[in-house]
């Protein structure tokens, strides 16, 4: 297979990019990949990827979602065997994670892998022991764990407690600590900061720098380029499975990285430069038109009640540090989860509001819920593209139990056009679609019911940049057509220029709502940590 150039993700305005590229190998290279290829059925995840990383450096692998970076990382870690090409870690090719471990490699995966029902200590030392004998005494394990984990977590922890009792951020740290406790010479981290809050991320960076000093080869796989410009020594950019270039420290700027990642001259993908006019304009054009009302809603026993209105044509963003209630709020609005107290009201007529109880009444009231974790909540892996779209619609489009296929087919064609869904045939398995297109199916089937309120739970997770852009355009279209949009995200940049208001969550309640020009990254960030605009910190009920 000849060397084919990478196809740009967005074909308009593509330019040839000339940026300093460093592919030279040196003697310090401990990880060498040459022309690695890997496919899954029809999908080619990695093509002709060549990469080298040295001891004592922090080497980032950057790319959009779907660029192949996670697959590449798994190949390096010995989890997936490559279809073609060579891999050498300290000169040897690992054929399993066990092999890799023996070579001195440790990896932290994108999904937080812990064994529930086992203690924190046991989770920290998974795989450390031999088949039937321990390499370390229990006391030694405890002392090593206590030397490391509290420093990473920022607090003490009971090692004997079942890990199931701890939230996701603690588990993420345990997984990172697990990798560190194996004294790796090569450490691979795949989106390891996804589940960490801001304060933890800084501790994480400090730890990475410390490892570099000790001569460890650290490979960081991420799509958050803002983070790595601070500490990465080199960055290799992947696009469509190709290695499109390696940047040295000096050339590591967000612009350069974006250019390589998307193949275009960079305009900030996420940000729009003009923020939206304040909500007051909106109120002027749609008076008295709250589509949705949350009244006295309590998400936990000790939380402050939430009162929030959603007006027609409004886009409200929701954000918070991990576990501060914003996800629960979204689920309550969608009817999936009952609140501890309070209710959700939907406008039926001009002054008539009807309470929503449960997912069914929410859907019938015109509230559409779009999940971000489509693998968990959205898609049916065993069904075709068409059926994944149609299944939730079959419930209404049927007569005497028999499905009205033609009607659903029309809906599909309509949404396919509106959302530019790219697929290989209606009866193709849903797994054959890219993440972005899968998400479009999930969105499309909700929009096909013509909802009046659209509630999105982190919808751009695992979606490539150009699809994200299409998605923001979609939200704008929805709001200008008079729908109300509630949009939860973990990436603050997404809110700028898109949301009329942003509600910041803390302690299972809304701490503050920012409007208009107040919607800035620093303002949102401070609020997430509990600092309100006038410099006062909200200390009520602060969780440790």
């Amino acid at each position: 297979m000849g060397r084919v150039g990478p196809t740009p993700v967005v074909s308009q305005n593509a330019e040839q990019v000339s940026v300093a590229v460093d592919c030279a190998t040196s003697e310090d290279d401990v990880v060498i990949l040459r022309s690695i290829g890997k496919s899954f059925g029809e999908t080619i995840a990695v093509r002709e990827a060549t990469l080298s990383a040295r001891a004592g450096e922090i080497h980032a692998i950057v790319g959009e979602n779907g660029s192949g970076k996670s697959t590449l990382a798994k190949i390096v870690a010995g989890v997936l065997p490559p279809d073609s090409g060579d891999l050498a870690i300290f000169g040897k090719a690992p054929r399993s994670p066990r092999d890799a471990r023996q070579l001195g490699l440790a990896m932290v995966f994108q999904e937080v892998l812990v064994a529930e029902g086992a203690s924190v200590l046991e989770n920290l030392f998974v795989g450390h022991d031999g088949f039937a004998w321990s390499k370390l005494s229990k006391r030694e394990k405890i002392s090593r764990a206590n030397a490391l984990l509290p420093r990473l977590l920022g607090s003490e922890i009971d090692l004997k407690e079942d890990i199931a009792a701890f939230p996701l951020s603690v588990r993420q740290w345990v997984v990172i600590a697990r990798a560190l406790l194996s004294n790796p010479r090569v450490l691979i981290l795949d989106e390891a900061t996804a589940a960490l809050d801001q304060a933890s991320v800084e501790r994480f960076h400090a730890e990475l720098l410390r490892l570099r000093e000790e001569g460890v080869c650290v490979i960081v796989v991420t799509h958050r380029i803002a983070e790595l410009t601070a500490f990465a020594d080199r960055a290799t950019v992947l696009r469509d499975g190709f290695n499109v270039g390696t940047l040295n420290r000096g050339d590591l700027s967000e612009d350069n990285l974006l250019r390589l990642m998307t193949g275009e001259t960079a305009t900030r993908v996420h940000q729009r430069t003009e923020s939206l006019e304040a909500a007051s304009d909106l109120a002027a054009s749609h008076p008295e038109s709250a589509l949705l009302r949350a009244r006295g809603m309590k998400l936990s026993a000790i939380a402050a009640p939430i009162d929030l209105d959603l007006r027609a044509g409004e886009v409200v963003g929701l954000i918070g540090l991990e576990g501060q209630g914003q996800v629960d709020f979204v689920r309550v609005l969608a009817g999936i989860q009952p609140p501890i107290a309070g209710e959700v009201l939907v406008r039926r007529e001009e002054d008539l509001y009807v309470p929503v109880r449960g997912a069914k009444s929410a859907q019938e009231a015109g509230i559409a819920y779009i999940p971000g974790d489509r693998k968990l909540e959205g898609l049916f892996p065993n069904l075709s593209v068409f059926e994944n779209f149609g299944l939730p619609l079959y419930r209404r489009e049927k007569r005497l139990g028999f499905i009205l296929r033609r009607r659903v087919h029309e809906m599909f064609t309509e949404q396919e056009k509106q959302l530019s869904v790219v697929h290989g045939g209606l009866s193709a398995p849903i797994g054959s679609l890219s993440g972005g297109n899968q998400q479009k199916i999930v969105i499309g089937r909700s929009l096909a019911t013509s909802p009046s309120v659209v509630v999105l739970n982190d919808p751009t997770r695992g979606v490539d940049v150009s699809t994200k852009r299409e998605f923001y355009d979609l939200l704008e279209r929805l709001s200008s057509s008079g729908k109300g949009v509630l949009f939860l995200s973990n990436e603050i940049e997404e809110f700028i220029g898109l949301c009329h208001r942003v509600a910041v969550f803390r302690d299972d309640s809304v701490l503050t709502i920012l409007e208009g020009h107040d919607i800035r990254i620093d303002a949102i960030l401070s609020a997430m940590f509990g600092y309100l605009d006038n410099g006062r910190q909200d200390t009520a009920g602060m969780k440790p």
Binding site: A100, V114, V126, H128, A132, A165, P167
Partner: protein, 342 residues
């Protein structure tokens, strides 16, 4: 002061984790009280030795099911009954067919355990290497062994070795410290040692989340085969005690025995879908199941006696499942209220 607090915290933690043992333990207390009322001779030396001897096969079989349940996912060994039968026939008929004779207790026990381990390893290897579901492979094992048993021996016949028979039925054995009790105690000690071993720790981790175990370097295939090997040891022991109990070889009892053993396992709090099971639970569950059938025999049901046991076994199984499910629901709800989703 903090060490006292830590001790209490540890106690609280273990009691919460052992919530699943609450049901079988409470049931045990109730059943023992019923026993005291209906049949107090159970609490005599002879009665106790009878309890031990008759429940030993079930207890050992429940222990045999436990490592496979731990190994997950949905780890249920349907072949345990026919396999026990197979070894039983082997002891009574097979050894003499092979020309080895069954007068040497060590030989017989080693033979039983050896066959159990071999077949266990074979099943485990098929499951682990071909990546097939445990229930399907053990179903095939059940069919093959059940059929093989009948082909080998069409009707119950043969006599168990005298020394083995005497373990249960000799006058000297009718006391609290009978040979059967020693066998059980030995099996428990072995289990206690195994449960604390690194191998078991790896097994539990693998059963809880296979991906975590795999990516951290745990040997999945070896661990799974090991679990089936351990199960084979206990099936072998169960076969020995079963041979002592019935004094001959019976090729037909396999199916019902599988059901009873699974009932004991589930009653003991094992969660098949979650890959969680404990040895203590298995033993408690087995004793409970046996006591239920024992108490039922103290009533005069006449011809319908075995059917009543069947009915009771089925009902107990279902009720135990529902009760166990309610407990986990309760625990999960309490955790969510405290704000820890998971």
């Amino acid at each position: 002061m903090s060490s006292v607090r830590r001790f209490l915290a540890g106690l609280w933690r273990t009691s919460r984790r052992q919530m699943s043992l609450l049901t079988p333990f409470a049931l045990l207390v109730v059943l023992l009280i019923l026993c005291a009322i209906r049949s107090p001779i159970l609490f005599s030396g002879g009665g106790f030795s009878g309890l031990v001897g008759e429940s030993a096969p079930l207890i050992l079989a429940a222990l045999a099911l436990t490592p496979i349940a731990i190994a997950g996912p949905a780890g249920i060994d349907l072949a345990v009954g026919p396999l026990m039968n197979f070894i039983n026939i082997g002891i009574v008929i097979g050894l003499s067919q092979l020309g080895w004779g069954s007068t040497n207790p060590v030989l017989v026990v080693c033979f039983a355990i050896g066959v159990g381990v071999l077949i266990g390893i074979f099943q485990g290897a098929v499951i682990a290497l071909l990546r097939l579901q445990t229930v399907i492979v053990t179903l095939a094992g059940y069919l093959i062994l059940a059929g093989l048993n009948l082909v080998w021996l069409s009707e119950p016949s043969g006599t168990a070795p005298t020394w083995l028979y005497d373990w249960l039925w000799s006058p000297q054995a009718q006391q609290v410290f009978s040979p059967a009790l020693f066998v059980l105690l030995g099996a428990f000690v072995l289990w206690a040692l195994l449960a604390r071993s690194t191998f078991f720790r790896n097994l539990r981790l693998m059963g809880s989340d296979e991906r975590t175990a795999y990516t951290s370097g745990v040997r999945l295939v070896a661990t799974r085969i090991g679990a089936h090997a351990v199960a084979g040891v206990y099936v072998g022991l169960a076969a020995v005690m079963y041979t002592a109990l019935i004094g001959s070889a019976d090729p037909k009892a396999g199916a019902a025995f599988t059901l009873t053993a699974v009932t004991a396992l589930v009653l003991g709090g094992a969660s098949l879908s979650g890959g969680r099971a404990s040895g203590i639970g298995a033993v408690l569950g087995a004793v409970d199941v046996w006591l239920i059938s024992y108490i039922l025999t103290t009533f005069r049901f006449g011809m319908a006696a075995s059917y009543v046991v069947q009915l009771a076994t089925g009902v107990v199984l279902v009720v135990a499942l529902v009760a166990g499910g309610l407990l986990t629901d309760l625990a999960r709800r309490r955790r969510r209220m405290r704000g820890q989703t998971g």
